[in-house]
């Protein structure tokens, strides 16, 4: 039976649940010292003077690493250490000492004279005439060209109660939006605020590094392995072959550790400077600052619909809090709005503006999660205006296979959003539950909501590398990372299935570049399921072909006379004949050449060539690039259905039911898929309901930097009987048919809540997140709440 589609526990499970798994900060090396970083107390400042003399005189203090000791980086690129910190918490320097206590005391003894510089937390403030810029060079940069973008007083005055809209930095349009609005039967116009939020992985970005014989050994917390090695090599200006990167376990990343982290270079550089292994254990407090955040949006949107519910026009103007170093969420947001509602015409404008807040990065469904969470209640408003059922509204506007979207008329490999909507509606019981919409029991009003959320879910062209050793086992080498998604194990099944192997005969090799890992996609953007089932399928096919050829050479006949399965290579129709894979491996070593990796294909990436070359002679080597090809973007979909109860006397929201159904192609691992769908959905619910980012506007200093103040959601915040399902229709362009799933559930979970809360409130879209009791109650009671466009409050 094929392994794909089965529930199989991943190989790292026992180590994780017993606590034996070693994460970056658990490693030790002989002579290792600890370093601590000094973080900027100001949101924007210039270092005038550093006096570390007292610290350096302390017993046990070894040395100091400053911005002058690290490779320079040109703004807006993020520096490793900086003499012009651009956010509160930006690392200025590091100190190494024999133990962490001493290093901490040394940091406290260092006197840094800082000159405060103007700062800005809210991009709209930066756009005001005379408003502050986050960088001294300006508030926007593209390819080294800086601008200080300002709108006019008139732009702000004209906005009235809506978001001001001046000239846009980014713009695309399809069709004639103004004409479409003129012909629309109903028009909805709203202003939206989606807050920025920190990633909060359980494991902070700790790193330990040391040097031996010109090579750097780095234990770090990263989502991807092969790609992190390359990125660290780039930072250190080294050959990737001289970097040994170890990251067998990663306690979450959500996009904040895609190809490693900026600050993994600190121990590496410090270790090079002082000649001793250096450990940087990042604390929760530091993680809050350097750990990345999802960029917040302030938007103005206008949506026009026909009486039948068809969306004819969308005009979306988005201002993005880009942090000090930028983010590209804005771009995806526009694409996803177009894809999800397939408007006949659309105009998209965006202003990604730098701010002096902690750096932004992709966070699970970047751009998509925010915009879906905010636009779905607006679609509902349009549905109410048109008198169309909200499920019907989505069935009418969701894309079909022939969809094109975005400025470049992007197409899709496959789309089954409507199937997901129908299946989800049935599983959730939309017909019965939507009847509860707006009903009240005592002070509690029921609301039901739907969130339909697409996101990219794959990529092409990476390498697979497998080895059948004389022990008869298949070793699948994985250059992707292990951040809890199971893709290191689950994508290996694609190779095993080609060879007809049982899971017990498969060993996954991952997490340590010294073990020879192939060129891989980043473990991000929900790519690995798609990209590496393909790559491993390709490597499996290569191994299979070589098995057949080895058998033919050993036993006679043509390669095609042989088949592979059950741990053997056998003559077709005679399963007991032929060679065991162990014997095949021995023969492959004997035959050498391409069979055992001494000859390698041209098509593979140099990283894979080196890895495969190092494995040569150990068994039968399957190595191949994914050349299955394909056209169009790969997107997965999740639709979330929620029922909530909003207490109209307290503003409290309770999630009563949640159901999510996904279109992510072939299901690789049902239990793991369910975990991804729920995990992402709950993350989205937290985004909509509780999680926050708060700064004091006077000092530009953040407050929501603890789990209890930032309030990411927990399992006790959701009902226990969450339901999920999958459409399960294979993507026709992939030999395996599987697409990724990490990203889209976030937008689905978030939007199911924002729409359900608006529904409970009689269709009143508060159009901001998080929907905490204060925001809801202030609205119900007509009390003073937050300003219409206020960012970073709560």
């Amino acid at each position: 039976m094929a392994l794909i589609g089965q529930d199989i526990a991943p190989p790292d499970l026992v180590a994780k649940i017993t606590g034996r798994a070693k994460y970056a900060e658990d490693f030790r090396a002989e002579g290792m010292v600890f370093c601590k970083m000094l973080l900027s107390p100001m949101p924007h400042a210039r270092v005038r003077r550093i006096d570390a003399s007292k610290a350096l005189r302390m017993e046990g203090v070894i040395d100091i690493l400053t911005a002058d000791d690290v490779p320079a980086s040109e703004a807006p690129r993020e520096p490793i250490l900086s003499n012009e910190p651009l956010y509160e918490g930006a690392p200025i320097l590091a100190v190494a000492a024999v133990d962490e206590t001493t290093a901490a005391a040394a940091i406290e003894a260092i006197d840094v004279d800082l000159e405060p510089l103007p700062f800005v937390l809210d991009p709209l403030e930066s756009l005001r005439p005379g408003g502050p810029d986050a960088h001294e060079q300006g508030n926007y940069a593209s390819r080294g060209e800086w601008q200080s973008v300002k709108w006019t007083e008139q732009d702000f005055a004209d906005a009235g109660n809506h978001m001001p809209r001046g000239e846009a930095l980014m713009e695309w349009e399809k069709g004639d939006v103004e004409a479409a609005f003129a012909q629309a039967d109903h028009i909805v116009e709203e202003t939206i605020v989606h807050q920025s939020i920190t990633h909060h992985p359980m494991e902070p970005r700790s790193t330990m590094a040391y040097w031996q014989n010109g090579k750097v050994y780095c234990h770090t917390s990263t989502q991807s392995v092969a790609r992190t090695r390359v990125s660290l090599a780039g930072t250190l200006d080294m050959d990737p072959e001289d970097v040994v990167l170890v990251s067998e376990f990663c306690g979450g990343g959500f996009g904040s550790k895609i190809a490693g982290t900026t600050h993994m270079a600190v121990p590496a550089l410090f270790s090079r400077k002082i000649g001793r292994p250096v450990m940087l254990r990042v604390t929760r407090y530091e993680e809050n600052y350097i750990g990345r955040a999802r960029p917040g949006f302030q938007c103005w949107v206008k949506m026009g619909v026909r009486t039948d519910g068809k969306v004819t026009a969308i005009d979306l103007f988005l201002v993005q809090d880009s942090g000090p170093h930028g983010a590209s969420d804005w771009n995806t947001a526009g694409m996803i709005a177009d894809l999800t509602y397939t408007p006949e015409s659309m105009r998209f404008r965006a202003m990604p503006i730098y701010t002096n807040t902690p750096p932004k990065a992709a966070q699970r469904g970047p751009g998509g999660a925010q915009i879906i969470s905010m636009l779905e209640p607006i679609l509902d408003k349009a549905a109410r205006a048109a008198g169309v059922d909200r499920l019907e509204m989505r069935l009418l506007n969701a894309p079909d296979a022939d969809v094109t979207f975005g400025p470049n008329e992007t197409t899709l490999t496959s789309v089954h959003a409507k199937e997901a909507l129908r299946q989800g509606a049935a599983l959730f019981g939309w017909a019965e539950k939507s009847a509860l919409s707006g009903t009240r029991v005592g002070s509690k009003a029921s609301g039901v909501g739907i969130g339909l959320s697409p996101y990219t879910a794959g990529s092409r062209g990476f390498d697979g590398l497998v080895l059948i050793k004389p022990d008869g086992k298949l070793y699948v080498h994985q250059g992707i990372g292990n951040l809890g998604t199971h893709s290191i194990a689950d994508t290996a099944r694609a190779a095993a299935d080609v060879l007809g192997l049982e899971w017990d005969d498969v060993e996954v090799v991952w997490g340590n570049t010294a073990q020879q890992l192939p060129w891989s996609s980043v473990q991000a953007g929900s790519q690995t399921t798609h990209a590496h089932t393909r790559a491993n399928h390709a490597a499996g096919l290569d191994a299979k072909r070589k098995c057949q050829e080895v058998a033919a050479r050993a036993l006679g006949g043509a390669a095609d006379d042989y088949d592979v399965g059950g741990g053997r290579v056998f003559r077709r129709g005679r399963r007991g004949s032929g060679l065991t894979l162990a014997q095949v491996a021995e023969r492959a070593i004997e035959y050498g050449g391409r069979f055992d990796g001494h000859e390698l294909p041209e098509s593979i990436h140099t990283v894979t060539t080196v890895a495969a070359g190092n494995l040569a002679g150990q068994g039968l080597l399957g190595v191949a690039k994914d050349e299955f090809g394909g056209e169009g973007a790969i997107y997965s979909w999740v639709v979330g259905f929620a029922r909530v109860e909003v207490d109209l006397e307290t503003g409290d929201v309770e999630v009563m039911d949640y159901t999510a159904v996904t279109d992510c192609g072939t299901v690789l691992h049902p239990r793991s898929l369910g975990a991804q769908v729920f995990g992402g959905s709950i993350q989205g619910m937290g985004m909509a309901m509780t999680q926050r980012w708060v700064f004091d506007p006077k000092w530009g200093v953040s407050f929501a930097k603890r789990f209890y103040t930032a309030r990411p959601p927990g399992i006790l915040d959701v009902p226990l009987d969450l339901k999920w399902g999958a459409v399960g229709i294979a993507d026709p362009q992939s030999p395996v048919g599987a697409k990724g799933i990490g990203e889209p559930p976030v937008g689905a979970g978030a939007a199911a809540i924002t729409t359900a809360v608006a529904d409970a409130l009689g269709g009143n879209c508060l159009c901001r997140t998080p929907l905490t009791p204060d925001v809801i109650l202030a609205d119900i009671e007509g009390r003073r709440g937050f300003g219409r466009l206020e960012q970073h409050v709560g």
Binding site: K36, L38, L39, P41, E100, T101, A104, I107, E108, A109, I110, D111, V112, T283, R284, Y285, E286, S443, E649, T650, G651, D652, E654, M689, T690, V694, F695, D696, P697, K698, V701, F703, Y708, T709, R711, P713, G714, I715, L716, D717, P770, T772, P773, D774, V775, L777, A778, I780, E781, R783, R784, G785, F786, V793, G794
Partner: protein, 333 residues
Amino acid sequence: MGTIRDMIAPFDFFQPATVDDALALLSEHGDDAWVLAGGLDSFDWFKDRIKRPKVVVDLGVIESLSAISESGDGLEIGAMASLTSIVNHARIRADYPLLTTAAEHVATPQIRNQGTLGGNVSQDTRCWYYRSGWPCYRAGGNTCYAAAPQAMNREHCILGASRCVAVSPSDTAPALFALDATMVVRHGRRERVIDAEDFFIGPSTDITRMTILEAGDLLTSIRIPAQWAGARVYYEKVRDRGSWDFALESVAAAFRMDGDMVADARVVVNGVAPYPVRLEAVERSIIGSRASEDLAIGAGEVAIQGVRSLRHNDYKVPMMRNLVKRAVRSVVA
């Protein structure tokens, strides 16, 4: 000048075996000593290196302090009794379900296992300006950053502000107020028994502490009199995140009913002032009256007389009104 957080600075650590030993240590070390109960407030301060006691006296091994025993016709709960042990205590659940419910609403199961009743009532405020180590009034400075015009103060107070606008974070304190509990405090050989209401002090009296406890004082137990055993009670806590949060506001109330008449009542709210607030005007407005929706609505209106909201906490006014209304509504037949 560099700031380090999340690393506890060194201190001398004592684990006395008896209350007398603990008191002797506290008296010996005076202002240098810090009393450690469950540690959920303390470790936060220690980790952030904002409070740096020289000496920490851990009460964790003094068994007598976690006992829950009969006292006269009421109960005496050791200050170190864990919140979980209170939640699971059959007699408390039977006679004083208000306390059971209040304890159940504290934070998370793990925190309730570790947290103690004494710690829950003695904990410091969670005002994030104060807890960020800013030199505010409560920290001995001359500014309330939380009451500045543009400050982030949705969690701050609408009553009882006096320069400082922080609120009491305790979930159990309002229940103890409603049950007319008393706090047993020892200082050396001297033992004082203090009404729960007098245990908490506001910033107008001393802006740097939340309770009357001073150096050398030790809260040893909390006594619940029989008077309110078996009363009709109501508890509700509104919080941002159901699984783990401090209260935005909470209400605890106890009622004695005579048919459908409110014979006696105690109504307490928290999260609105620097201390839990007993609403005597509300009590007066309902005692002797027939419980009805109108009475509940009136009680809510009485509750919010004299409140003053800050920039971002205006919602707390209707929330307080509604919570009090709901408490009274709970005894409407």
